[in-house]
């Protein structure tokens, strides 16, 4: 089980960070920010 949990956590963090960066990039490309502002 341990050799499953650890890779999962690492991969989950990496994927989350990557998706977050993707969201920010696409929103910025549309002239908006990731966090809503007015």
């Amino acid at each position: 089980m341990k050799d499953y949990i650890l890779p999962f956590l690492v991969a989950f963090l990496v994927c989350s960070a990557a998706f977050l960066a993707l969201d920010a990039a696409i929103m910025n490309a549309q002239g908006l920010s990731l966090i809503f502002s007015g």
């Binding site: 499953y4 993707l22 969201d23 549309q30």
Partner: protein, 614 residues
């Protein structure tokens, strides 16, 4: 083979001459097209320089009155044109799509050297060959009915598109020539160089067919988003501008993808019927495999289709906000609820077929326990998708509900919720497919556990991302953010599909089979999922064809030429659905006829073939 060397050389030379001829024909068509287009641009230029000179040369859009429309007693001209056009489109979509994937399957067969692919590709094209002439007959019938019932419109359109209509006719001959060589030359053009000639003919067949469709698309999108006209609706003389109108490319893209999905589903139904009526285990195995491949083609094209549709709708909005509102927020809004039911049906039946197909493998038991969770999520997403948002209510209903939106269901009806649901539905269908592919395999690479963990992490992080984008941007920001956030949602889905496929490929490299796949071991009810897929696809196409045409409302050419005929009203959805249903039944009857013909021809030709081979 016992063919003498000299004859072989002769065959090869004949094939080469054929190839050169086809190329020359195709090239000639293109080179004739070029000067005409240049000429058209030149005249437009001149018209721009010396204004008023071009006036009078080209006719302004005619404005016929109600009595100008020819009527035939007892015939509803709108319904006749509607049905004929829709039948022509169904057949055209089918015969345009089949050569696309036949060429791919033939290429796969050539690359792998597996003769089963070649045999299947031939069987696919055989199914479409009778449909080809039927498409042409229906196309001719469509032109006749259009000219009989809407002569003024057709005169105006053919004046603008005379060049492209001429090349349409020309290309039709090129396509026919390619198709006949491709089909009847299948066994003759086998092996080595000749196979390359055959593939090239297939490529030309597809090029001609797709170009044909693009030409016809230009005419119908011109009616939706006219271009190349001056302010008063007169043609400016620039034929290319009229063709290259605003909605042309969005429709082109959408139709190519939808055609492939549709063609796959029809061939799947054919295979399903053959499977059910097959008596030998060998035939059952063959048709099971054929049905599986057809379903795979249909689903692969179905997955990107919502995105192409989204692009098309966005472009309609960009072209005319009024048309966009009519489409999504006005009288047609309920049509998208029907569409959601149909697409949900497509996804459910495709997934059901995959789950049933896991029975072909001994190793599938490992994954059976997950299927029910997949089913729950897909059905849940489906329910969110067809939750209506804005309802037209009577005052009493309004009071009872406390507003036009339902207190609890209302928030699920808005677009961000639907986008989220569609993305999740697509991801879980991908998951179904991954499980299916793994059913019979055992990965042997040392990093299996880490790889699985990475895949689970990829899916969960992606789904969390899609949910956050949907919930946060959908409910706590403004419209601009809501629309903008749908793009990273789509991007996330596409990245997960691509990334998980890549991981899977590497992880299952050299994987061990649990047991040989047992083609043919699939319950009969799975075949009915294939019928459901084909019927739902046909009906859905009819429905979307109606809205594509219907959003023009009382216009022949939006804003330019008014439809003053007695039939220029927008019918209720129930009425439209009835016409679509009648069309679907007619189409199915004709398809059954086509399949029956191809069956009859096999019975006759197979012994002849055997003789010549022997």
């Amino acid at each position: 083979m016992g063919i003498p060397q000299a004859t072989r050389k002769g065959h090869r030379a004949a094939a080469l001459v054929l190839l050169v001829l086809i190329f020359a024909l195709f090239g000639a068509g293109l080179s004739w097209l070029q000067p005409t287009l240049a000429f058209a641009q030149e005249t437009a230029q001149e018209a721009g320089d010396v204004q008023g000179v071009a006036e009078g040369v080209y006719l302004a859009a005619p404005q016929p009155t109600e009595t100008d429309y020819p009527q035939i007693a007892g015939v509803n001209s709108r319904v006749v044109v509607w049905l004929v056009a829709q039948l022509h489109l169904w057949f055209a979509a089918f015969i345009l799509a089949v050569p696309i994937f036949v060429l791919i399957i033939e290429g796969v067969g050539m690359a792998t050297g597996d003769e089963r692919y070649d045999k299947m590709a031939y069987e696919f094209i055989k199914v479409s060959i009778t449909a080809y002439s039927l498409t042409a007959i229906l196309g001719g019938l469509l032109i006749i009915t259009l000219f009989v019932f809407y002569p003024h419109l057709m005169q105006f359109l053919s004046n603008i598109f005379k060049e492209s209509m001429f090349y349409y006719a020309l290309l039709f001959f090129v396509e026919s020539a390619c198709l006949y060589v491709y089909y009847y030359g299948w066994h003759w053009l086998q092996g080595g160089f000749r196979k390359w000639v055959h593939l090239t003919v297939g490529l030309l067949l597809n090029a001609a067919g797709t170009t044909l469709m693009f030409l016809a698309n230009a005419w119908i999108t011109f009616m939706m988003s006219p271009a190349g006209l001056d302010a008063s609706g007169g043609f400016s003389g620039d034929a290319w501008a009229a063709m290259h109108n605003f909605l042309w490319n969005p429709i082109n893209l959408h139709r190519v993808i939808a055609n492939v999905a549709y063609g796959g589903s029809i061939v799947g139904a054919y295979a399903a019927y053959k499977f059910l009526s097959a008596s030998s285990a060998q035939d059952k195995a063959h048709y099971d495999w054929m049905g599986y491949t057809a379903n795979l083609i249909a689903i692969s094209a179905l997955l990107p289709l919502p995105f192409a549709g989204y692009y098309l709708a966005a472009e309609i909005y960009a072209y005319s906000q009024q048309m966009g509102i009519t489409l999504m927020g006005g009288i047609f809004a309920w049509l998208f609820i029907i569409q959601a039911v149909l697409i949900g049906t497509l996804f459910l039946s495709a997934n059901y077929y995959l789950w049933c197909g896991m029975g072909r493998s001994e190793g599938a038991v490992r994954y059976n326990k997950y299927v029910k969770y997949l089913a729950i999520v897909i059905i849940g997403a489906f329910l969110v998708w067809f939750t209506p948002h804005t309802l037209v209510l009577t005052n009493q209903e309004l009071k009872a509900l406390g507003g036009p939106y339902h207190k609890y269901l209302g928030p699920l009806g808005i677009m961000p919720a639907k986008n989220t649901a569609v993305n999740i539905m697509i991801l879980f269908t991908t998951l179904s497919f991954i499980l299916y592919r793994r059913a019979n395999k055992v990965a042997v690479v040392p990093w299996v556990k880490a790889g699985n963990a990475a895949q689970v992490a990829l899916f969960s992080a992606g789904i969390v991302n899609i949910l956050i984008l949907g919930i946060y941007h959908g409910y706590f920001t403004n419209t601009v953010y809501k629309v903008a956030a749908s793009i990273p949602q789509v991007a996330t889905t596409l990245i997960i599909i691509v990334a998980s496929t890549i991981i899977d490929r590497f992880m299952y490299r050299g994987a061990r089979d649990v047991a040989p796949l047992r083609w043919g071991r699939i319950p009969d009810r799975a075949q009915y999922a294939l019928f459901l897929l084909a019927v739902a696809f046909t009906w859905l196409m009819g429905l979307m064809g109606y809205i594509r045409s219907g959003i023009r409302q009382h216009w022949h050419i939006v804003g330019v030429m008014r439809d003053n005929s007695p039939d220029a009203y927008t019918p209720t959805l129930g009425y439209a659905a009835n016409v679509v249903s009648v069309g679907t039944i007619l189409f199915m009857a004709m398809v059954i006829f086509v399949f029956w013909l191809s069956h009859v021809s096999t019975v006759k030709t197979v012994p002849v073939l055997r003789e010549s081979e022997a």
